[in-house]
Structures are given as C-alpha cells and as structure tokens.
Amino acid sequence: MPNTTGPDQIFQRALAEQEVLLPKCDDCGAFHFFPRVLCPHCHGTAISWQRASGKGRVHTTTVVRRKPERGGDYNVCMVELEEGVRFMSRVEGIAPGDVVIDMAVTAFVGETEDTPIVLFRPAEV
C-alpha cells in the first residue's frame, strides 16, 4: 500500500499481521473504536495505537436465524473489551444460542472472505 497512514489503514494492516491495535487518545487517555482522526470523547487529534488486551465480555447478543441450506444460524454480538471499547463480532467455538450476556471472551484474528477480522472465543477459565 502506497499510503498506510490513515486510521483505518493502520488498523487493517495490523490485523493482517494478526494483531488488534486500538486507538487511544493522548489528551484524555481514553480508547475509542472505530478508528478515526480525532478522539470522539475530547476531540483531541493526538492519537496513539496500543495492542488490545483481547479480554472482553459479551455486552449483548443475538442469533441470526438462517436456513440450514444457506449456512445455518450464526451469532452476532457486541463485545466490550477491558479497554472500554465495544466491537461488533461473533463468538466462535460454541453454538450461537449458547452465547450469553456477561460471558468472558478472548479476541483472536480470524478470516472472512480472505479478509482478516476480529472474532472471539469463550475465555479459558
């Protein structure tokens, strides 16, 4: 990529290297997501990147019902990371209906249509 300095590009490039980076505001110290050129909390423009802890909890969840011949049901949920930001994602490795609110989950980088994406699995106890 000739120019990988934009916030989305930085996030995606890290993801391609199996790494989840989170934007963090130098001024107020808060994380935000999605990546952007300013902090949505204090509107500061000095943004640094920090590797995500990967630890989170399911904030809310649903099962998208889909016919078996089209691939069957799947999970869509919101995960709140320790850093205080939320990702839309899905929890893999368990049935979509077994994903419950407050469940502890761990992030990993998976793939969809050859593009890396952030996914979660139940945290090991």
Binding site: T60, T61, V76, M78, F87, M88, R90, I101, D102, T115
Partner: protein, 383 residues
C-alpha cells in the same frame, strides 16, 4: 423547537395512498397520490405548495425528484435524512420556515412500494465497515440486541414483548385501513418463526407499500380550511449514533432528550397526553419509548404494556391505528405517527376514534435507535 414556536403552525390536511400492496405503482406514484390526498383534505392545490419536506428510500436527491414529479418548484426544501424519524423532524423545520415567512404552504410527503417492489426493506445505505463482516441482518439484529440487553438488565420477558404486538393488532382490527387485521394472541407471537433472538417475525413491523402526506400552514390562517386545525405545540430531536455498535447504552434511547424538550416546548407532561403514537418497528421500541418519554420508569416498560394495558380499553391508548406492527410499514413509518395523532385530535381517525382528544404525541425513530424525534400536537382548545 422552543416554546416561542408553540402553536405557530397547524396541520390542515393529511392523506395517504397505496396502503398494503400498490401493484403496478412506483414509490414516487404513491408519494404523489398521498400528496394529492392531503391537499384535497385541506382544500388546496399542488400549485399552492411552496415548501417541500421530503425524503425517500430511492434516489440520492429524493426531494428534488419528488418536486419534479409533482410539477412544483418549491422555494424551500428540507430533505434531511434521519431515517424514519425524518417526517416528525420536518414538523420542526416546517414550523420554523412557515413562521419566518419562507413558505406559506408546507407539504411533508413520503411514499414507498417496498413490498411489491422487492418484499424486502429497500435501503440505499451501505453496511457500516466495522459491522459488515459479521453479517448483522439490518435492521433486526440491532433491535434484537437492544431487546436482549433490556431483558438482561430489567427482566423484561418475551411475553411482554409479545403483548406489544397483540395490543397493536387489537387496535388494527378496528381499522379498515390496516393491513393485518386477523386475530393475534401472545402464543401466536411467541410461536412464530424466530428471526433474530429474542424477536420472532411477529415482533417485527410489517413490510407494506404506502405513502403519507401532511399539509401545514401558519397558525393565523389555520381556521380557514375545511378540517379542524391541529397545532404543533412542540417538537424536538436528539441524535445518538448511526451504527448500532456505537450505541452507548442499549437500554436507553435519545427519546429521553427529545421527549423532555418537546414536553417543555408544549408546556405539557406525559400525564396530559391522551393518545400516544410511537414508531414501533419492533416490539422492543414501544417499551423503550414509553420508558424514555416518561410514561413509566426505566425498566418498567415490560410491566407497563403487559396484558392489554396499551390495547383498546387499556390504561393508555398507544398506536391507535395498529402501528407499524399491524397497520402499515412502507420502509419508513414516521409520518404515520403524525397522521394518526392529528386524526385522533380532529376526530376522524380511521379505526377506533377516542373521545375528546385535545393532546396527542407522535414519536419518530430513525436508523437503528439512532435518531429520536418527538412532537406534541394539540387542538384549538390547547392554544
């Protein structure tokens, strides 16, 4: 809107067209038929319209397309697109524009043939980049996650959600204009096909064709028209987010703020409202908005709607036409909350006409609980 604008504009005509299935017609055809119906109701002509307030699901410049189709050259256009709340929001801009003398006859109008055109929700918007890879079903996954969180925090039950749909159907059964008028029980809703847990297909709004239109003029000439004028006593908007993943608290909507300001502008409180018309895209919406608008406390919405309390002969009349769940839902329902509120006040509601309605509330929701707009309408007696 501030209280300076209280009662400065009035609805003098309402109209609709193409409810249910409008075979062979386009969205713009239904839009135009709705405009003609509302202008006919007001005793006005299309050539009288000099302010247009319109958005559609088609075209990137839908208000210009609508003006062109109608053969009018408005001197003022507002095409602000906030989703389904846009049409309640236009009550504010129409009132401001009329009051400032920037137009004399304001037409709010919408139409869609999403049912006969495709059977699916038509949307020009692209899935958000950080949500699309997970394939949420737009928009139900968003509302399902709000419902799940509300159930988790407050113990709201699927039975209570179902009772919202059952109440809407009970109103619709008396409304010849409503699309779904068959019997519907709590068991029917719970046993229907699950589409996005915890919501079944009966927790979801209809997919129909239909259009609606509203004509407003300045209050000083509002009594010169055939129908009793319905005044805009207060209206207010608040935006929260665009994408559901950015919603801060999945159990609280911006209706808290829009409602607070609309009530303040109108000088009334929830206890004064005699008919409540809410944008019920999903059963959870009705519960959230009743709480956030102050009809009950946060977390008590489930109990508030339970067992026919918002049905005919209940405690509070909510969605007296049958709502988006049972009357009509052509992509965006917002304009119909205003039309039903106005007709209840005028005394010509198509279904159950409540007695002596002087103050009614219309509430629009846009996007995925993203934009909330509240309007309070009143009869001549409320001025």
């Amino acid at each position: 809107m501030t209280d300076q604008l209280r009662g400065k504009s009035a609805i003098v005509g309402t109209g609709h067209a193409g409810f249910g299935e409008a075979h062979g017609l386009t969205s713009f055809d239904v839009m135009a038929q709705s405009a003609l119906a509302a202008l006919g109701d007001a005793g006005l002509k299309l050539s009288d319209v000099d302010g247009l307030f319109c958005t559609m699901m088609e075209d990137s410049m839908p208000a210009l397309m609508a003006a062109e189709y109608l053969g009018i050259q408005p001197r003022f256009i507002d095409g602000t697109m906030l989703g389904g709340s846009s049409f309640v929001n236009y009550l504010t801009s129409a009132t401001m524009t009329l009051d400032a003398g920037l137009c004399d006859v304001a037409l709010i109008v919408y139409g869609s043939t999403q049912r006969t055109a495709s059977g699916k929700l038509v949307t020009a918007s692209r899935p958000p980049a950080y949500e699309a890879p997970y394939n949420p079903r737009y928009p139900i996954s968003a509302y399902a996650m709000a419902a799940a969180r509300h159930m988790h925090e407050y113990g709201t039950t699927r039975e209570q959600l179902a009772d919202v749909a059952v109440a809407a159907r009970a109103w619709a059964q008396h409304n010849p204009e409503a699309f779904e008028r068959g019997p519907l029980t709590r068991e029917d809703v719970l046993g229907a096909r699950m589409v996005g847990d915890p919501l079944t297909v009966r927790d979801c709004c209809l997919v129909t064709d239909g259009g609606g239109a509203i004509v407003l003029v300045r209050a000083d000439r509002a009594r010169d028209f055939p129908k009793p004028p319905v005044y805009v006593l207060g209206s207010a908007a608040q935006s929260a987010h665009r994408q559901i993943s950015q919603m801060k608290d999945f159990t609280v909507t911006a209706a808290r703020e829009s409602g607070k300001r609309a009530f303040a502008a109108a000088g009334v409180s929830p206890g004064d409202i005699q008919a409540v018309e809410l944008y019920d895209a999903f059963t959870i919406n009705t519960i959230l908005f009743l709480e956030d608008l102050g009809f009950c406390a946060k977390g008590e919405g489930g109990a508030f709607v339970e067992g026919g309390r918002i049905a005919p002969n209940g405690v509070l009349p909510v969605n007296t036409n049958g709502g988006g769940l049972s009357c009509v839902h052509p992509g965006m329902y917002g304009i119909f909350t205003v039309i039903e509120a106005a007709r209840q006040i005028r005394g010509d509601a198509p279904g159950i006409q409540l007695n002596d309605i002087d103050v009614a509330l219309a509430h629009g929701n846009g996007g995925v609980l993203s934009s909330q707009v509240t309007a309070i309408l009143g009869s001549q007696a409320t001025l």
